[in-house]
Symmetry: C2
Subunit: 334 residues, 2 copies
DNA sequence: GTGAAAGCGCTAACAC
DNA sequence: GTGTTAGCGCTTTCAC
């Protein structure tokens, strides 16, 4: 069917070794030989078969990114950061979404096991610490955005606790005292860390937190609206709400609007992530920005370092990158 | 490093051929042998190296999806549809985004040339008809969402002309007569087809279209806002606007709001695609829905058919799937 | 039902 | 500077 290195060698009247040499532009090949090989390549429309190459070299120079859902532009922004840096290092990046099902995630991890990719970056994962630790022993993996407690795995995240703190502080500074919190499920590390930071800020400013103001659900969209409905049914509703994700914040904004509230005036809502939609919404959404590109670059840089380093010396530390407070129209003074 | 089929054979006291047979659960292998092999596999933690397998079988069972930008959930929805069907056929799906640069797109197409993947689905592409035709001769590729004029390549799209017609008709039925159109650049086939349909509807209802009402820019977000500003600066501004994408519609809604207009009352705006954001926006966005999952399933089904069929008998026709009109709050009666 | 052996396309010793 | 050759891990024909 398609030409092989052998065909090129024949066409050029040289050996496959020489062809391979010009293909990998290694030293020790004459001008003349290189030219003849390149001509033959053009003539035959030859393109090297990477299955052969990769098999031989025992590496693919491909990194797989697995995300829970691809519907969020947030993840794709991180992938963009990953891609940008990976390219400079000669790595290709491919992605797959598990749709939050561990079954599919496992299936996709197979690409690691069967040597189709050199490493995997997990943007939020279904795996528990034990499994991750085992995987990490034999393969090059990294977590990004969402850490796992007790996992000795290379991890790159923002300082979620501090992010939660900063969100609360921003609301307090706007004069709010009755501030509520909307979190995800308890086993989402990022969510509970953000709550910890939230509580720390409240404490620091001497504000007692009404237990009714702490709402836990999931990262699912509907949850934000549900939270607002609940808060507004309380005898003394909050004047500001911190949601652990922008999606929840947007959902909450909807809920508030449905209840006839003017968001940014009657009630202030701040999210987390700074997804593209924040700017597009009416009102635009205040948030804690995660620096997606930096997260992506950092995690892939560290991962490639692991891939190219000898077995015994893997880096499995946790790194954090700086977040940023962005106040838009969904928050206003109390 | 990791175990090979040979190790398993040794451990089980059988030949590699037999191990390979149980791996591919082919016939002619005794209960006893199968058991011993499976035990050996478990004991060694063996996982077959697909580079070897793929090299030998000259196929990878992997399909690559290339999209112009991954920031739009729209594309990812199609990928989800692709994935869902591909899985049932034993294919893995990976994706990559070209960020609309042909350079990166070419780089990613390399996976096709170097045999890392069996086929490629392009969701909107930078390639011209000639290039696509050449590619299509030697490789299995398909276009989805966005066709290319003159390309004899397997294509799956919605009937864009009819979609444009239906959008215009929906606005006309709401009583509008002064209806404007916001399109992308001229070489975007989908955009110009939608305009054709728009014009057909207008003609059918005997409405003369003011040339000032036809705005052409690009698919970029900013374009919607710019269009609205322009329309509103006209001596006689339109009362309704059809944008060829939801993103443009959302941008237009913003522009209108900035000008103090109440969208859905003072001006009606309808988009195209039905991205997730349409429901989340305030007001929610009327649109022509593209059935993403169906598009995805259809294109991958046809592509797999091509991959598995002999060289001479490739299907390079264009298929269309049904769209749907969805009226929400961004449109109202004139 | 099982094994021996060839070979997929490539790279990298090694020899010259 | 170039060629010969072994072998990466796997499947598959062909014997038996």
């Amino acid at each position: 069917m398609s030409a092989t290195i052998k065909d090129v060698a024949n066409e050029a009247g040289l050996s496959v070794a020489t062809v391979s040499r010009v293909l990998n532009n290694s030293a020790n090949v004459s001008e003349d030989a290189a030219q003849r090989v390149n001509q033959a390549i053009d003539k035959l429309g030859y393109s090297p078969n990477f299955l052969g190459r990769n098999l031989r070299k025992r590496e693919t120079n491909v990194i797989l990114v697995i995300m829970p859902t691809s519907e969020h532009s947030f993840y794709m922004k991180i992938v963009a950061g990953i891609q940008k840096y990976a390219q400079t290092r000669g790595y290709d990046v491919i992605c797959a979404s598990s749709n939050s099902t561990s079954e599919i995630e496992v299936r996709q991890m197979n690409m690691l096991f069967n040597r189709t990719v050199d490493g995997v970056i997990l943007l939020g994962t279904q795996y528990d610490a034990d499994t991750l630790n085992k995987l990490s022993k034999n393969y090059d993996i990294a977590l990004c955005c969402e850490g796992v407690d007790g996992a000795d795995v290379l991890t790159v995240v923002v300082d979620d606790e501090q992010g939660g703190y900063d969100a609360a502080k921003a609301l307090i500074r706007l004069g709010h005292r009755k501030i509520a919190f909307v979190g995800a499920n308890e086993n989402a590390v990022s969510s509970s860390r953000r709550r910890d930071g939230f509580l720390r800020a409240m404490k620091e400013y001497g504000i007692t937190v009404d237990p009714d103001y702490i709402y836990s659900g999931s990262f699912e969209y509907e949850n934000g609206e549900a939270a607002i409905r609940y808060f507004m049914s309380l005898p003394e509703p909050p004047t500001a709400v911190f949601c652990v994700s922008d999606l929840l914040a947007i959902s909450a904004i909807h809920g508030a609007a449905d209840l006839g509230l003017k968001v940014g005036k009657d009630i202030s809502i701040i999210g987390f992530d700074n997804i593209t939609m924040c700017e597009m919404m009416l009102p635009s959404v205040s948030t804690i920005e995660q620096p997606c590109e930096k997260l992506g670059e950092m995690v892939v840089r560290k991962l490639i370092a692991n891939i190219t380093s000898p077995a015994g010396s893997k880096d499995n530390r946790t790194y954090t990158v700086e977040h940023r407070v962005i106040l838009r129209d969904s928050t206003g003074s109390a």
